[in-house]
Every structure is written in C-alpha cells, then in structure tokens.
C-alpha cells in the first residue's frame, strides 16, 4: 500500500464531495424510480409502436403510429374521452366549491372545531374500492338507502334505478368521488385560508366592507394560487379515474361510465389488444405530462423552497 498522496487526485476529491455523498444517498431511490417507473413507461412506449400479440411475448413487428391511428379513429375512444372530460370538469368544480365552503367552516372559530376536522377526515381515509362498494349499496335500486330515505321523506313516490342509465350512473359515480375527495380539497384550501393574515379582515371591517365584498376582494385573490394548484392536482387525478368506476359500475351501463383509463384497461386486458392498449395508455401519459408541466410551473410560482 502506498502512502496517501499529498495532492488529492480527482477521484479522491469526488469521493469526499457532496455529489458523491448525494449519489450514495439517492442510489436506492433512483434504482426504484428507474426500475419500476421509468423503464416500464419506456417499455410501454415501445409496445405502443409494435403489433403486440401476447403479453408474455410482447415482441412484434414495428407498426409506426398504426396503434395510435387505430385507437384514435375509433368512436369509442372519443366517447370515453368525452366522458372523462365530463367527469373531470364536474367533479373538480364540485370539489372546489364544496371544499372551499368546508375549509371556511374548519377555519372558523367555532366550538368543536377539532371534532369537525376529525369527522371530515373519515371519507378521505376510506379505501377507494370500499367507497365504491358503499355508494353502489346506497344507490341500489331495490335495497339502497337513498331510495329508502327519499321515499320515507316523501321526496320520491317510487324507487328509482339510480345506476340504470348511462348519464345517471356517471353522475352517481361523480357524487361518490366528490364525497371521498372533498376532505382532501378542504384541507389543502384550509392551509391557504389559514395563511391569510387576520389583520386584512380587521382592516376590511374597519372600512365597513360587506362580507361579500371582503370575500371577493381579500379571500379569493389571496387564495387564487392555492385554488389553482389544488385544481390542477384534482384534474390530473380525475383524468386517471379507474378504481371507483370498477367498484361501482364496471364502466356500465352501456359504457356510460367508461372513462379513458377504464377503456384502456378493457382494451388491453379484456380484449387483449396490448398494442392499442399501450397506445391508449400513452395518450393518457401525454395528457398527464402536459398537466404536470402546468402543475410544476404553478408550484414554482408559489413560494417554493425546494425546486
């Protein structure tokens, strides 16, 4: 063994640098992210351009954009896109409006606020599949509690088949999704609300500004960054909706709740059209990538510490 050289070599300097230490610390995370996310996503991209016959032996002839054009010339693709758009817009809008209201309640100085916060957490914590099964039971045509409640209150004369029509089922799925997700939105918006300085409201009061005016001239502008971040986050999640639909309607009736993720799932796994399924999955990835870029941009603009 030679003695330690007085002048550190390049290699030695690297070994004692922050970069080397960071590489060591990040190695497991990079292994995970590349091994089970980035490698698979690239692989799916390859399948999207090949004629895959069997999932176990996915090597097929290169077909260029064939899978994409087959996927995108199908009416079922566009109708599932339309349904996804409807689901995304309606559920996100409802969650933001109701969530903002609940955030206001959670922020108000009322007794038992901690109890309300604990209660509001519950729907969020219920597993998505259980939530779907729960609402499927509530909306059940013969034994569901919604029909029972509405007839016992005299609002309905006879039992309704809530999940019987494509349009009705879609709206019921939205209700189930909104119920579970509103707590998340409310807690995120609560953080924004709580950060608005109390003095602003006091000043508004001294200026004898009405409650409505205070809401529009103080709360809304100061909440806008938080609202827009929550909105993009919800749009991204809503665009991928799958679990709650699987549990409630399996895409039915008459494909009425078949969103793009569900359509991709049935194309790939029920029809075993792996090439077209991969192309469809990539279309979702592209939309998500665009939305994520907007999200990251919004995050950067808000007061950021990490990026």
């Amino acid at each position: 063994m030679s003695k330690t050289p007085a002048v550190p070599t390049r290699k030695r300097r690297w070994r004692h640098s922050q970069g080397f230490f960071a590489a060591c610390l990040l190695a497991p995370a990079i292994l995970v992210v590349f091994g089970i996310i980035i490698y698979p996503i690239i692989q799916t991209g390859v399948y999207a351009f090949t004629d895959v016959r069997s999932a176990m032996h996915p090597k097929g002839p290169f077909v260029g954009f064939g899978n994409f054009s087959k996927a995108m010339t199908s009416n079922r693709f566009w109708s599932s896109m339309g349904r996804t758009l409807y689901f995304t817009i309606v559920s996100t809008a409802a969650e933001l409006v109701i969530g903002l209201g609940i955030a206001g309640l959670l922020n108000a100085k009322i007794r038992g606020r901690w109890l309300l916060r604990t209660v509001v957490v519950i729907p969020w914590a219920i597993p998505t599949i259980v939530n779907g099964a729960l609402w499927k039971g509530i909306f059940h045509a013969q034994y569901g509690s919604l029909n029972a409640l509405l007839t016992q209150l005299g609002i309905l004369n006879s039992y309704k088949v809530w999940l019987g029509t494509p349009w009705g089922a879609m709206n019921m799925v939205i209700i189930a999704d909104v119920w579970k997700t509103v707590p998340l939105v409310a807690f995120l918006l609560l953080a924004g609300l709580a950060s608005i300085p109390e003095e602003l409201y006091e000043a508004a009061k001294i200026d004898r500004a009405g409650r409505w005016k205070t809401f529009w001239s103080i709360t809304v502008p100061l909440m806008l960054p938080a609202i827009s971040i929550v909105m993009i986050l919800r749009v991204i999640e809503a665009f991928k909706v799958f679990d709650v639909i699987y549990a409630m309607t399996r895409g039915g009736p008459a494909d009425g709740t078949k969103t793009i993720a569900y359509y991709t799932y049935t194309t790939a796994f029920s029809d075993q059209n792996y090439g077209i399924g991969s192309a469809l999955a990539y279309i979702i990835v592209i939309v998500i990538a665009l939305l994520s870029a907007i999200y990251l941009r919004a995050l950067r603009r808000s007061e950021m510490s990490l990026i």
Binding site: L25, L105, I129, S145, A247, I307
Partner: protein, 279 residues
C-alpha cells in the same frame, strides 16, 4: 372579534350539516353490516338493527368459505407494512440529499421524481407484469411490495424533503463539530427532530399501500397475495344483493385507515399540504 348571532348560527348549522353528510354514508355501512338480510331488504327500510346481528363478522373470521377475506386482510397488512419499511428507508436517504446537499442535476432529478408520481398506473401495467413474471413474483406479496413502491416512494421522498428542510442546519453543524459523520448526524440529530414528519410520511405510505387497487387486481390471482381492495371488489361484484356481507367486509377494510387517519388527524392535514402545495 365578536361574531354576530346569525353568523354564528349559520356556522354551526353548516358544521352540523357537513358533519352529518361526511358521517352518514359510512355510518349506514356499519349499521347495515349488523342487520339481518330480512331487515336490509324490508320496505320501508329500517335504519336501526332490530337485534344485534354480528353473524357476518363471525362468518368472515370462521367460515372457510370466506377464507379469501381473512387472507386478504393478512396480505394487505404484510404488503402495507413492507411498503412502509422500504419506502421510508429509501425515502429518508434520498430526501436528506434533496434537502441538504448541493449537487448537479438536483432539481432535474427532483422534478423527474415528482413527475413519476403523477404517471397513470395503467401505463406501467404490462411491463411490470412481465418483470414480475420473469422474476417469479406474480401473485406474491413481495412482488406487490415492489410495484407499490412505484406509487409510494416518490410521494414519501417529496414530503420528507419538505420536512427535512424545516430542521435547522445549525443542529447538524454542532454535531459535526463534535465529530459526528454526516450519516451519524442524520440518524442522531435530523431524524429525531423530524419525527412528526416521519410519522406523517409513514402513515401516508401505509394508507397509499392499503388503498392500492389496480396493481393488486392484475398481479394477484389467489389467496396467496390478494389484498383487501381486491377482495371487497369481488364481494361487491358477486354478492350484489347481499349488501350486509359487502358492508361487513367494507367496514373491516376501512377501519384500519379510518382509525389511523382520525387518530393522526393533524398529521393528515400537514402531510396533504406538504405533499401538494407547500413543496
């Protein structure tokens, strides 16, 4: 600041209505799970059990026909705990690097990780299926732990980085002066100071893994690895007229996350914010 009376009444009314709407559906599931089938199909529907009827829970835990569900609870527990352990080890190391060290491509790597968190699971399914098939981990809880990490690791990394940033660097520096190595300071100084963050991250990792459905649906096929969401989906598909049984299964599946979230309510709120907005 004093509130006017009708503001106050409005707030309490709003709070009560919110509380009822947030509680009622799950409360009905719990009640229905204790009602007899005759009561559940009666018209008008009865809202309270005529007699205490715990038979479905007994049957889930003792009847061999319901093996699937018992095994699923066990599998979910194993998978979720496994995911928490892996994600926390990987996450703590990586998050420390993001929060404390300056290195090339730092923000690129961070953005890549955050982006991977947004990707749809469906775009990873076929390649992950092949990977698991090649290493013989299909229908296996270890296989599920590995693929679930694709959902959980990016999230844990992200929120832990945020929590580590809140630990003052001075604490660490004094430890270095006392001769501690960086890793030693991380373990002895940073981790104890960031304990609320660690609890929050671990809790989210557990809830995410417990909730995960799509991977479990495709990658499991027997009681060897089926998880609770898959079992509940099967129950709900097969016994759609026996809501009582679905409800009992659903309550059992929901109780662990509901209890954890209600108990750690503060962590839920802070974790959601750290994961989404504060960044």
């Amino acid at each position: 600041m004093r509130m006017r009376l009708h503001t106050k009444i409005g707030l309490y009314l709003g709070a009560i209505v919110t509380g009822i709407v947030m509680l009622a559906p799950f409360a009905w599931m719990i009640i229905a799970s204790f009602q007899t089938q005759a009561e559940l199909v009666a018209r008008p529907l009865r809202w309270w059990p005529g007699r205490f009827f715990p038979d479905r829970y007994v049957s889930i835990f003792t009847n061999p026909r319901n093996d699937v569900f018992r095994e699923a609870l066990m599998n979910s527990l194993i998978v979720s705990v496994g995911v928490v352990i892996v994600a926390m080890v990987v996450g703590v190391l990586g998050a420390y690097a993001f929060a404390r060290l300056r290195f090339r491509f730092r923000s690129t790597i961070l953005m890549t990780f955050l982006f991977t968190y947004m990707l749809p699971q469906i775009a990873l399914l076929i390649p992950l299926y092949l990977i698991l098939a090649n290493v013989g981990l299909l229908d296996n809880v270890i296989g599920l732990i590995i693929v679930d990490c694709s959902l959980v690791v990016p999230f844990v990394l992200w929120i832990l980085s945020n929590y580590f940033l809140t630990v003052p660097v001075e604490l660490e520096e004094s430890a270095w002066i006392d001769g501690a190595s960086r890793l030693g300071a991380l373990i002895r100084i940073v981790l104890p100071s960031a304990r609320p963050g660690l609890v929050t991250a671990a809790m989210f990792a557990f809830l995410l893994a417990w909730d995960e459905f799509m991977y479990a649906l495709i990658f499991t096929s027997s009681t060897a690895s089926k998880t609770v969401p898959v079992a509940v989906a099967e129950f709900s598909g097969r016994y759609s007229t026996d809501f009582g049984l679905v409800a009992a299964g659903g309550v059992l599946a929901a109780l662990p996350p509901v209890i954890i979230a209600a108990f750690f309510q503060r962590s839920v709120a802070s974790g959601l914010v750290a994961g989404a907005v504060k960044a």
